[in-house]
């Protein structure tokens, strides 16, 4: 068990290193460099070489790429992503609270989505190919297919404008406590929740259908084991284990994928800052976002692997 855990931890570290390399190289090979933030093409073409060299020196662009990569890597290990090009603010100061806020929003969605998705998946699988399953599956396909900005807008029209129960736009501040943010965010949570339940419910339904159709379950039924025990104590664990990786990937994608919803509701999360960074061409901020998002995927994958190791004896033995 310990060696398996250590092996996965080592694999995660290697993946993170590869990701950091990829992010650095990707931003290196893009046309132009950080100077393009403030200079246009004809400005560059007519600038005296000495002045250009001075500006490159100020931005650290005069150093060879490997040297800059090592400095970048060293910074990343200490969560130092450098400073913004325009205002010279430490990138971590810009990213930290929006990341926390996106995690709060994503976390709230997951906390609500997992039990609801379990319920939906179990009900749908138990009454497989019956009316209940058809209704739930159809609703899930619609919920998963409709873009989140459409769902968000409809929810705003219904529950903020026509029937003013919840805020239409988030006026809470970036550094407000988590509870204050959540209290202001029922509609963003609901918007993401609809798609999340639809997706996770579908994933679990497939696992449950397979589990309920196994010979093992058939034998349990023949021996008179109550249905609730079969579903919750035997079929559900068997269905959840293969779904864990998919759920982990979904959880990671959730945090980086709620950008649009954050913009619809003016939620002070990564979405707002990412948009600002892209439009301002703040390369270091974009690097930080890319790395943190990728890091979350690795982290959630690792957690899923560890959970599978803990739950599944066959995986441990292999």
């Amino acid at each position: 068990m310990l060696s398996a855990v250590l092996r996965r931890l080592a694999l995660s570290l290697v993946t993170l290193l590869m990701l950091a390399t990829y992010v650095f190289v990707a931003t290196e090979i893009l046309p132009g460099d950080a100077l393009d933030v403030s200079l246009s093409a004809d400005e560059l073409s007519m600038m005296p070489p000495a002045r250009l060299a001075q500006m490159k020196r100020e931005l650290g662009l005069d150093r060879p790429a490997p040297e800059r990569f090592l400095a970048f890597l060293g910074g990343v290990t200490q969560l130092d992503f450098g400073r913004t090009l325009i205002s010279k603010t430490p990138v971590i100061d810009i990213v930290a609270f929006p990341l926390r806020n996106s995690l709060i929003l994503g976390g709230a969605v997951l906390v609500a989505a997992i039990p609801l998705a379990l319920f939906v998946g179990i009900v749908s699988a138990y009454w497989f190919r019956r009316a209940t399953d058809t209704i739930i599956s159809s609703a899930a396909i619609i919920g998963y297919s409709v873009p989140e900005f459409v769902i968000g807008t409809v929810l705003v029209i219904l529950f903020a404008v026509a029937w003013p129960l919840f805020p239409a736009t988030i006026t809470a501040n970036t550094k407000d406590p988590a509870l204050a943010l959540l209290a202001a965010s029922p509609l963003p949570v609901a918007t993401i929740l609809i798609g999340s339940i639809a997706y996770l419910g579908r994933v679990l339904r497939v696992g449950m259908v397979e589990a309920l159709a196994t010979d093992f379950v058939e034998r349990l039924r023949l021996t008179g084991v109550p249905e609730w025990r079969i579903v919750f104590l035997h079929a559900l664990p068997a269905a959840v284990i293969p779904s864990l990786t998919a759920m982990a990937l979904y959880a990671a994608a959730l945090v980086s994928g709620i950008v649009v919803v954050e913009l619809v509701f003016s939620y002070p999360g990564l979405g707002q800052e990412l948009l600002r960074a892209v439009t301002r061409r703040e390369v270091h901020v974009i690097q930080a976002f890319a790395l943190l998002s990728a890091g979350l995927v690795v982290l959630f994958n690792l957690l899923a692997d560890l959970a599978i190791l803990a739950l599944d004896a066959r995986t441990r033995q292999s």
Binding site: V37, S38, S40, A41, I86, T171, N173, K175, L263, S266
Partner: protein, 516 residues
């Protein structure tokens, strides 16, 4: 435009406060109610980037908040006439009008409980003259006594009172040049409670405000929703916001028939300079290309499409707005054939490809504006890519590497222009200022000569004829183009009273705004 004789200045000195009060109180006569919080969203942006270290400084906030936390020595009202604000008297010491003495109001308190004195005025302008383009003409500022300060300018300025009303002319508690203004302390009706850079500013009533009995509101919350008009309007519809400032003219049409809201209009509003670079190698060094560009633009189409027709106006390639009585329309309309001929004469019979025109969207309708501009000049042979840049940091971006050694380089870029008096507006076309595209030559020299003449002419009628000559030079020379402009709007709920909009967004006052 405003014409103030020396006697007139003195007379206004006596009645300035009364005039300010009367102007502010004229909109609603119902008994105002005290208390309450005004929550508004702000869609326009004309500022440098704010961050945690400078979000309280007057140079980094959104303009609509200027008169909430701070005051200036003078204020420009909705008719673009100046009035006294923290000053009670302002007059030149002689006919050259380059030395001005200002007497400030006694007993005005800062939010930190200290009384404002002439030393604070001197210290504030020591900062402004180094950092604000309009204040650079001030070469010396000194406190003559506790309540009298003296400004020495680099030349006469008959419209100096307007300089003192600018958003970068607020009075701050005296401090050194590195720290002044960063505490957010002013003399305004509200003081800052908290800031969330680029997101919100929360203010509460300042009990020691110099206008006794004001403001009526207890609290003001400003939420920045640049580029997020739908979120802001949803907030208004849902009752979260009491008002939304600087909405798109198309949204005005949507809400006009809705009885739940009032729309306040600021005539004149904003327009946009397209800076034509004249550094070595730039095609715009050739006057014929500049003229061709001016003839190629379909200004009526911009008004029609960007401003829904009735909310826009055709510009005259000067910084003056159409509501200014000194405004002289540009002779002749769009002429594509003439534009093509001028281009051919300049050596481009098959058209010309320009470098990208950069713009930022300080108002929601701006992207439409520049799309129409791009398409209309194409018909005359101008192949002009356009590129949108964010408002945050745009000022630094568009100015570029403005190095004299490079021939005063700047970008081919747009910048927003607010409504102002002719003295300020027309002075923006001087060689030194980036907005003129660093225009030079004998016509420029003649233009500046006329400007200097106007600045020592007390009589507004005579100044008007000088301003007309200056505009005629611009129509012929086309140092830059200012194709069109539009009115600006705020939308508010019916229970918000006395909240007029202002063509200068930094001159909005909420002193007498109240919530029914």
């Amino acid at each position: 435009m405003n014409s103030r004789s020396r006697r007139g200045f003195a007379r206004l000195g006596l009645g300035g406060a009364a005039a300010l009060t009367a102007d502010l109180a004229n909109a609603q006569t119902a008994a105002p109610k005290r208390g309450g919080t005004l929550v508004h969203a702000q869609l326009s942006a004309n500022r440098r980037a704010a961050d945690a270290s400078n979000a309280k400084h007057p140079y980094f906030i959104v303009d609509a908040n200027t008169r909430l936390q701070w005051n200036c020595l003078t204020w420009v009202n909705e008719k673009l006439e100046w009035e006294y604000e923290l000053a009670t008297k302002l007059e030149p010491t002689d006919d050259k009008m380059n030395v001005w003495d200002v007497t400030i109001r006694e007993g005005v308190m800062f939010h930190n409980g200290r009384e404002m004195t002439a030393a604070d005025v001197a210290s504030s302008f020591a900062y402004h003259r180094l950092n604000a383009p309009f204040a650079r003409q001030i070469i010396k500022i000194e406190a003559l006594s506790k309540y009298v300060a003296r400004f020495t300018l680099d030349g006469g300025n008959s419209e100096f009172a307007f300089i003192l009303a600018e958003y970068n002319s607020v009075i701050m508690p005296a401090g050194d040049l590195k720290t002044i203004g960063f505490d957010g302390i002013g003399t305004g009706p509200f003081r800052i409670v908290s800031t969330d850079p680029n997101r919100s500013l929360i203010m509460e009533r300042f009990e020691g405000y110099w206008r006794k009995g004001f403001p009526y509101l207890d609290r003001v919350e400003c939420h920045n929703r640049e580029g997020q008009q739908e979120a802001a309007l949803n907030g208004l519809r849902a009752g979260q916001f009491d008002a939304v400032l600087s909405i798109d003219p198309r949204a005005v049409q949507q809400f006009q028939s809705d009885t739940a809201y009032d729309i306040e209009t600021a005539k004149g509003g904003y327009h946009f300079v397209v800076q034509l670079p004249k550094h070595p190698g730039s095609p715009f060094l050739d006057k014929r290309i500049r003229q061709a560009f001016a003839y190629a633009i379909d200004r009526e189409a911009i008004v029609r499409i960007a401003y829904s027709g009735k909310y826009g106006w055709v510009g005259n390639d000067s910084h003056l707005v159409i509501t200014d009585p000194n405004f002289v329309p540009r002779p002749g309309g769009r002429d594509v054939a003439k534009a093509k001929k001028l281009l051919a004469d300049a050596g481009y019979p098959n058209g010309i490809t320009l470098s990208p025109l950069y713009f930022s969207p300080p108002l929601p309708e701006v992207p439409r504006y520049f799309q129409v501009l791009q398409q209309s000049v194409k018909e005359a042979g101008f192949n002009m890519p356009i590129e949108e840049r964010p408002n945050d940091g745009y000022i630094q971006f568009r100015q570029g590497e403005n190095d004299v050694a490079l021939g005063k380089y700047h970008k081919f870029a747009m910048t927003a222009v607010g409504s102002r008096n002719p003295g300020i507006s027309l002075y923006r076309m001087r060689y030194e200022y980036v907005e003129s595209g660093h225009w030079s030559g004998p016509e420029h020299d003649q233009y500046i000569k006329l400007y200097n003449e106007a600045m020592i002419t007390r009589d507004a009628g005579k100044r008007k004829s000088v301003y007309a000559q200056m505009q005629a030079i611009l129509h012929e020379e086309v140092p830059v183009v200012l194709p069109a402009g539009g009115d600006t709007f705020l939308i508010k709920r019916k229970n918000i009273r006395n909240m007029p909009f202002h063509p200068q967004i930094w001159s909005i006052r909420l002193d007498e705004t109240w919530k029914a």
